[in-house]
């Protein structure tokens, strides 16, 4: 999409505002009147760690949306951490599912859709000098990551997902 921003002959003065939603819950994004476009990044919630596994990371999706394609408001959902991480969404434009103990989430709807980093671990053989049941958590891209493994005694919590909305607004900064 050509926004005219980098065209010297037709340059449009603009400024950027970034809105970050990184706590689990449901929010409402209201479109400003002078909006040119939004660049939306969505990450699913990350899974908690378990006794023998770290938590998998949520998926990721990114989409550039021109103002004429946006309604006046959009429902924003940030997925919570948990045994299975919750799905995060920017309306029906871009979504990313949450991670789990055995896998990672994935993105959908975006110009770019990526799988999260899966966790792995469990059952390191005796004699390696490492505790048994040592696993590794999946790191997130926007907000934290999966929970750590508990090395046989329960794991740590993952973090919530995130939705980052970068607004391109008409007018100089």
């Amino acid at each position: 999409m050509n926004l005219g921003i980098f065209d010297a002959d037709n340059a449009v003065p603009f400024r950027m505002v970034r809105r970050v939603y990184n706590t689990a819950g449901t929010f409402f994004y209201r479109k400003p009147a002078n909006l040119i476009a939004v660049d939306v990044e969505v990450e699913g919630g990350h899974a908690d760690g378990a006794a023998d596994y770290g938590g998998g990371a949520g998926g990721y999706s990114r989409r550039l949306i021109p103002t004429q394609s946006l309604p006046s408001g959009v429902t924003v959902v940030v997925g919570a951490n948990g045994t299975t991480g919750g799905t995060s969404s920017f309306g029906s434009f871009a979504s990313a599912t949450g991670g789990s103990s055995t896998g990672a989430g994935s993105g959908s709807g975006g110009d770019i859709n990526l799988r999260g980093q899966a966790a792995f671990g469990g059952q390191v053989p005796y004699g390696c000098g490492l505790p048994a049941y040592r696993g590794f958590a999946g790191p997130g891209r926007l907000n934290g990551g999966g929970g750590t493994t508990g090395a046989g005694s329960g794991g740590g919590p993952g973090t919530a997902g995130a939705v980052v909305v970068t607004e391109y607004l008409k007018g100089a900064a």
């Binding site: 979504s95 599912t97 949450g98 053989p125």
Partner: protein, 70 residues
């Protein structure tokens, strides 16, 4: 009645269950399900929910991955 979020791009993974659906990007979609369906206990196969098989019994404390501690 609840709603299950299905991800076709992840082999019809049952992602989560909610009391009310929220907007998601295709191909993600919501399917009505019974109140007892959860991602930990069920999977979505050929348009129906079925119980997951029970997890295998944990190894005894003296045996890990088929290797017995000396």
């Amino acid at each position: 009645m609840k709603y299950a979020l299905i991800s076709p791009g992840e082999n019809d993974r049952l992602c989560q269950v909610e009391d009310a659906p929220f907007p998601v990007a295709p191909p993600l979609h919501w399917v009505e399900c019974a109140d007892d369906v959860t991602p930990q206990t069920h999977r979505y196969v050929n348009g129906a929910f079925e119980l997951l098989p029970p997890p295998p019994a944990p190894a005894s404390s003296g045996e890990v991955g088929g290797v017995t501690e000396l």
